[in-house]
Symmetry: C2
Subunit: 366 residues, 2 copies
């Protein structure tokens, strides 16, 4: 499985080129990628039009229940939920079931530490659904049995339920000394991360299988990298660069090296085939669609400042909790310098940004 499948919509032009291509030459390519990302909404519409079997979905007292897992505070989740609702309404109309339109119940889920107050305050006032917030990790059961008709999760499944223990165990071959992520670490470290991802993703599928009604759909948009490519890309690359800078600071005595050694981000980007294999092994869902698509970028490839800012937005909180707020400004200034000094780092973070788009259907119990 070292090559890309036929159904991948990522163009060969958008695949990472070998060697230290500077960020400048990549600008045009990133415009090409931008086309692909706009497809996500269209792909969800298609999934509902083609795969949602509303006549056989056993309706729960005429309510259609949707959950967004890892919703954060909006506004993206509101857009997604609205898109799903509208596509479902369309499907009812197209099947001649206009008079049977359900009411929609939308469940917004994220960790208990998520800012639900902000989420609730930002709920669109003109929403056409009943809203509820569900606090808790999606690696446990969150909903009653067979209570959901549609599950959506976007940019969330790269967070592991926990860090594999051996990563911070000095006596383990998987001890991740001097690093805070796995892309350039030893085989043992990478395997520990990969194995945790496998367990977590299987749990996720099994719990969702209990919560979804038969015929219910699940759309997952998750980080995933092309088979055979370098692991130094996207989130992993960002964290690795951050780790280099932390170690530079440790060598200068500005942070404790032991602290860096024992700190790791519980984040993992699987290869496409890893997800494919886990889905094949699972008997509860049929795979209706499985594609590697190019992820949207909200900054230009040449804008080191913007890339740094984005990296900071995603990582600052966890760094603060571990190392204190006093090192923050210097750390991200160092990230900025590092990215300017080594364009291949910027390239790694920026260029190879792909996402898996997966549509699953809950099968009848055996």
């Amino acid at each position: 499985m070292g090559e890309m499948g036929e159904e991948e919509i990522i163009s060969s032009k958008a695949l990472p080129m070998k060697g230290g291509d500077g960020p400048y030459s990549y600008t045009k390519n990133s415009y090409c990628q931008r086309v692909a990302l706009d497809n996500i909404k269209e792909m969800i519409n298609e999934a509902i039009a083609e795969n949602l079997d509303i006549k056989h979905l056993s309706p729960i007292s005429n309510t259609f229940c949707i959950a967004d897992l890892g919703c954060s505070v909006g506004p993206n989740t509101f857009t997604s939920m609205n898109d799903i609702m509208e596509a479902t309404v369309l499907k009812y109309h197209s099947e001649g079931l206009s008079s049977n339109l359900p009411e929609f119940h939308v469940f917004f889920n994220d960790h208990t530490a998520n800012d639900f107050n902000t989420l609730f305050t930002s709920l669109p006032p003109d929403r056409q659904y009943f809203a509820a917030g569900v606090p808790g990790s999606f690696y446990i059961r969150l909903f009653p049995k067979a209570s959901l008709h549609f599950v959506h999760s976007s940019f969330a499944l790269h967070y592991l339920s926990k860090l594999p223990k051996e990563i911070t165990d000095k006596n383990s071959p998987a001890y991740n000394k001097g690093k805070i992520s796995y892309p350039t670490s030893s085989k043992e470290v990478v395997e520990a991360y990969a194995s945790q991802f496998s367990k977590d993703f299987e749990s996720f599928l099994n719990f969702r299988a209990e919560e979804l009604v038969c015929g219910g759909l699940m759309v997952l948009i998750m980080t995933g990298i092309p088979d055979g490519s370098s692991r130094f890309q996207a989130i992993g690359a960002t964290l690795d660069v951050l780790g280099y800078c932390l170690m530079d600071m440790a060598k200068m005595g500005l942070v404790s090296e032991a602290k860096v050694d024992s700190f790791n981000f519980p984040v993992y980007s699987p290869f496409r085939r890893e997800v494919e294999e886990l889905l094949e092994r699972n008997r509860c869902f049929s795979v209706e669609r499985f594609e590697l698509v190019t992820r949207t970028r909200d900054v230009a490839a040449t804008d080191v400042q913007a890339v740094t800012k984005h990296a900071r937005a995603v990582t600052e909180e966890m760094i603060k909790q571990r190392f204190g707020s006093e090192i923050i400004d210097e750390l991200y200034e160092r990230v900025f310098q590092k990215l300017q000094e080594f364009p291949q780092f910027l390239d790694g973070i920026f260029k190879r940004s792909t996402q898996l788009f997966v549509v699953l259907k809950r099968q009848a119990m055996d």
Copy 2:
């Protein structure tokens, strides 16, 4: 309807005595009252044992859905939800349905401005139900049709959906000049408040009727005062005393009198018969139980400081929003002085604290 019904469990000893009884003589009586309040849990257990017809409740995919409306941030709501769940499980066992035990889905509702982050963080880790938060006023629809089996609301229905317009209209006979509540105001003011309560309570019943399954139960614990008694008691009295102090400060130029005139708390304690009549008029629910019970007090009757503190806890936020935080300390110091100076005020706030306990069952549609 000027007298108390036979089913009232409030003892005649606990009824307010005429004249200016000082707070000191009341201590013993308040211990008598404490007995009654412990009954609430027992009364809910009875309601479920006697009125919950689980064999005919149409189960939603074997999930039993409970909503707490006006839940605040806990911990009271967790205790109540747990009590309801346990009583329901008991009922299943006692009907020989132990093998059919449902899963429980608990919905915690309060205004969008409620601190759901704190609520979610405080959720009991060992809870035996799936939890969700539902932001929004309970004077609108909050849930899909026929999606709830049990609705609970405690100490919340005295909040009106809005202040009646005429209360702050200088040209209306119901203009509430120099006051922030209604107990000692003109007949027109009291009627405007009462009429808003009627409308709100009717809306509440109608929306809940849509959300509850047939046979579903609703337990309401709400402020209510004995027919024919003074309106100067409980919450109303607290707000009136607060109003007197604000007006004292206005006369000294410390706050704007116009601001006091245009500020009113949207809070109302109905007479027992008002609620009784509204329930009789409603065709969706049968009244399974309707009682006036004595409400628990968490402070001693003699402790002016504690009463002031409690009054402050309940009112400070709204006062701050309207008058700014700089007047707060002086205002509540004045409340403290006023209560020491006029024991009849303390008496009004403290002694006559009654609550309505109502059990309703959703009837089949006509």
